[in-house]
């Protein structure tokens, strides 16, 4: 009896609907892999079977045996990387979820993410760390990124609130403007990675140590090693997120304390939405803008505020990702937008816009990405299949309500059978 009521709860049904969406998404990916395998003699059924196993359990893939069999087991590097990559997804997921709660579809997360990335990188690589302690630079860089994201997010917010321009279209336009702007900013900056010589199109890692020196009266930038006779004016860089022992837990991975920061922020957003008057206002505006206005809630202010907050969250994702110090940023972004931004949409939808749920769905998404990576490494398939799966999940999320009703009907039919 008690069990029935558990399944009949709306929350349970939502979670079930999400699981169904994931299942169908994985199934669709499997079908594509199978179809390709069957039509491609180089892969065949066995190749397809390998592909399917990796899509489901790629997280546990450890490689191949000498005889070419896939091996599975606990892979600390994969686990750590999954957590590391989940950080930006949690943040963009929170960004989209917050927007959805307030009735705004924030498809502008990619642009906000870029804005946050650019601002935090700029600060982290520009402030001299011989003057300011590097932990403080890290913190200021994160804040700068969030501020940039907030500003960027508030543009479509303002347009929506005061000119009633569809936020989806405005967000898409600001995405591309952001992509071009970021390219431009780094194009004319001195942060392009020229020290390592072979790389092009990348910005320094924030952990890189750079010394601004004067050699023979000429000011220039060198690496950590200062040539003799050079006078050091300032030291920059050397900024990186703390590891807090996580790197030992998951050896060989890029994981750091960023995941803890992201979870903390998720909890804060949860409390904001569920417990505070501000959350009440935002949800009221989202559920019925007219009733909110009737009740004296300033709906316009709330729209701008929501978009600014959402922008700050997405931007924090970019900042946390690149402030890790072990990731390089490809600055020539004007032709494409970061996938982490768009993937905030499926993360939020799968989590039914619940900030705590976002943490789990983001980890799931990043697990899928690890699977895709293993697929590319170990088979002739490639990582884009995970994007197909994600897209199918988003497609299903569009009619989550229908799925929920199906589940409800299934339950009631069972009840009748009994």
């Amino acid at each position: 009896m008690k069990k029935t009521s558990f399944f009949d709860k709306a929350g349970t049904r939502s979670v079930l609907a999400s699981l169904v969406a994931i299942l169908i998404g994985m199934l669709a990916g499997g079908v594509v892999i199978l179809a390709v395998g069957l039509t491609n003699p180089a892969l065949g059924l066995s190749g397809a079977w390998e592909g399917i196993r990796l899509v489901v359990g790629g997280l546990f893939a450890t490689g191949r045996t000498a005889s070419g069999q896939l091996t599975f087991g606990f892979n600390p590097a994969s686990f750590g990387n999954m957590l590391f990559r989940a950080v930006p997804l949690i943040m963009t997921g929170l960004s989209v979820a917050l927007g959805n709660k307030a009735g705004l579809f924030n498809i502008g997360a990619p642009g906000q993410y870029l804005a946050g990335t650019a601002a935090s990188l700029y600060v982290a690589l520009s402030v001299p760390t011989n003057v300011v302690p590097s932990w403080l630079v890290w913190f200021v860089a994160l804040l700068a990124g969030m501020l940039a994201g907030a500003l960027w997010g508030s543009i479509p917010g303002l347009l929506k609130a005061y000119l009633n321009i569809n936020e989806v279209l405005a967000c898409i336009m600001t995405n591309w403007i952001s992509a071009n702007l970021v390219t431009w900013i780094f194009d004319i900056s001195n942060l392009k990675n020229m020290l390592e010589g072979t790389k092009s199109g990348y910005i320094y890692k924030t952990s890189t140590i750079m010394n601004d020196v004067i050699i023979d009266g000429v000011r220039q930038t060198v690496g950590a090693a200062v040539p003799e006779g050079a006078q050091v004016v300032a030291t920059r860089g050397g900024v990186a997120t703390g590891k807090m022992g996580l790197d030992q837990l998951f050896s060989g991975s890029q994981v750091n304390a960023g995941i803890l920061v992201a979870i903390l922020i998720a909890v804060v957003i949860y409390i904001l939405l569920a417990k505070t008057t501000l959350g009440y206002q935002l949800k009221a505006c989202g559920a019925n803008r007219y009733a909110a206005r009737y009740a004296g809630i300033q709906d316009r202010r709330n729209i701008v505020l929501t978009m600014a907050l959402a922008g700050a969250l997405a931007a924090a994702g970019g900042a946390l990702y690149y402030l890790s110090g072990n990731t390089e940023f490809f600055w020539n972004t004007y032709q494409s937008l970061p996938g982490e931004g768009f993937n905030g949409i499926p993360v939020a939808l799968l989590a039914i816009n619940n900030p705590l749920g976002v943490v789990f769905s983001a980890v799931f998404m990043s697990m899928l990405q690890i699977c895709g990576q293993k697929l590319t490494e170990l088979t002739a398939y490639n990582e884009y299949i995970t994007n197909v799966i994600i897209a199918v999940i988003v497609y299903l999320s569009a009619f989550m309500l229908v799925i929920k009703t199906w589940i409800g009907k299934l339950r009631s039919r069972k009840a009748v059978d009994k």
Binding site: L163, N166, L181, T183, S336, F399
Partner: protein, 343 residues
């Protein structure tokens, strides 16, 4: 100047065709945010078609013989194929939005995510790289009109009209213009068009008059998919040397902006598309643009950063939306799932 007009058309024509695609969907009551994705899918399918047909060697003799009429026919077939595939792809949106009463914004976003994912997955499998090119030769040698075809020598001038509208032009562009005109007339002058438009305004009223709202919305979405698919292929044919890479850089969204700017009306859309095409064209080729033909690259000499030109179409879109949002009038029932029970 001929170059500027020619290049503007290259951008403006697919833009207005895809904007009309948006009109067909929205006038029937479905918000088609998936234009971008459908373009990507159509472009990929068109290029794939060209590639396979080249491999099968169907038009090889015509290519060797420089039988331009046959080659244009080949191009036309590829356009039709892209349109058919775009229509097929849009069925996903139609099914979700009409049968399952899904959130159309999310559904469209799903297709925008799905298209590049699928396309890149297959491009990687087929070509082992991230771009799918023609099997051999380039778009210009196969499909472009050149003055030599009309008996002009290398040094002979074709005159202003000739060098603007004939030399170095794709017939596909003109086919698109023709399709645009035909589809605009259908929308306004025929019974089908009139009924379709009524479904985007007041589907309950349409249903009360015996009009099949579900059918009309399917028709609107599928036609939208066909036009966007064709537009996507023509776009990569004329601007990217007939290659697909799972991206049209926001062109589909630009088309949506053109549609709104054009107030959902074909005539206005035509003008808006030309304006946006001009900016796109300037962004793409400002450094080699010699407007009055005196050998001075005026825009380049202005010494403005490339990124500004690239940003311009998007900035202008926002500004234009800001100014026109008050007077624009979207179809009243767009985005609202049709529920026959509601009266």
């Amino acid at each position: 100047m001929p170059f500027l007009i020619r290049q503007t058309l290259v951008y403006a024509v697919p833009l207005m065709l895809v904007a009309l695609a948006g009109v067909y969907a929205e006038r029937s009551g479905i918000i088609n945010l998936a234009l971008e994705g459908i373009m990507i899918f159509g472009a990929f399918m068109g290029v794939l078609f060209v590639r396979f047909v080249q491999q099968w060697g169907w038009f090889e003799p015509a290519y060797v013989d420089k039988n331009y009429l046959s080659l244009q026919f080949f191009c036309f077939l590829a356009m039709l194929f892209a349109a058919a595939m775009g229509a097929l792809f849009s069925l996903l949106l139609a099914f979700a939005a009409i049968n399952l009463k899904a959130d159309q914004t999310i559904g469209g976003t799903a297709l925008n995510l799905l298209a590049p994912a699928l396309v890149l997955f297959f491009i990687r499998l087929i070509a082992n790289q991230n771009t799918l090119n023609m099997d051999h030769g380039d778009a210009a040698s196969w499909f472009m009109l050149k003055k030599s075809m009309f008996g002009y020598g290398r040094k002979q001038e074709m005159g202003f009209l000739g060098s603007t509208f004939v030399d170095k032009v794709y017939v596909a562009t003109y086919i698109c213009i023709l399709v645009f005109i035909i589809m605009a007339i259908i929308l306004y002058k025929t019974r089908f068009g009139m009924r379709l438009r009524s479904c985007g305004e007041n589907p309950q009223a349409s249903a009360s008059l015996g009009i099949n709202v579900v059918g009309m919305r399917y028709a609107g979405t599928v036609i939208s998919g066909a036009l966007a698919g064709m537009g996507g292929f023509v776009y990569v044919l004329t601007t990217a040397n007939c290659s697909a890479n799972g991206d049209v850089a926001g062109f589909g969204f630009l088309a949506l902006a053109v549609m709104i700017f054009g107030n959902w009306k074909p005539g206005n859309i035509c003008g808006a598309a030309l304006l946006f095409g001009l900016f796109k064209c300037i962004a793409a080729s400002y450094s080699t643009l010699d407007i009055n033909g005196d050998g001075v690259y005026m825009l380049k000499n202005l010494n403005i950063n490339t990124n500004i030109y690239r940003m311009l179409p998007y900035v202008i879109t926002l500004v234009v939306l800001a100014f026109t949002s008050k007077s624009s009038r979207a179809p009243k029932a767009e985005g609202i799932p049709y529920d026959p029970g509601k009266r």
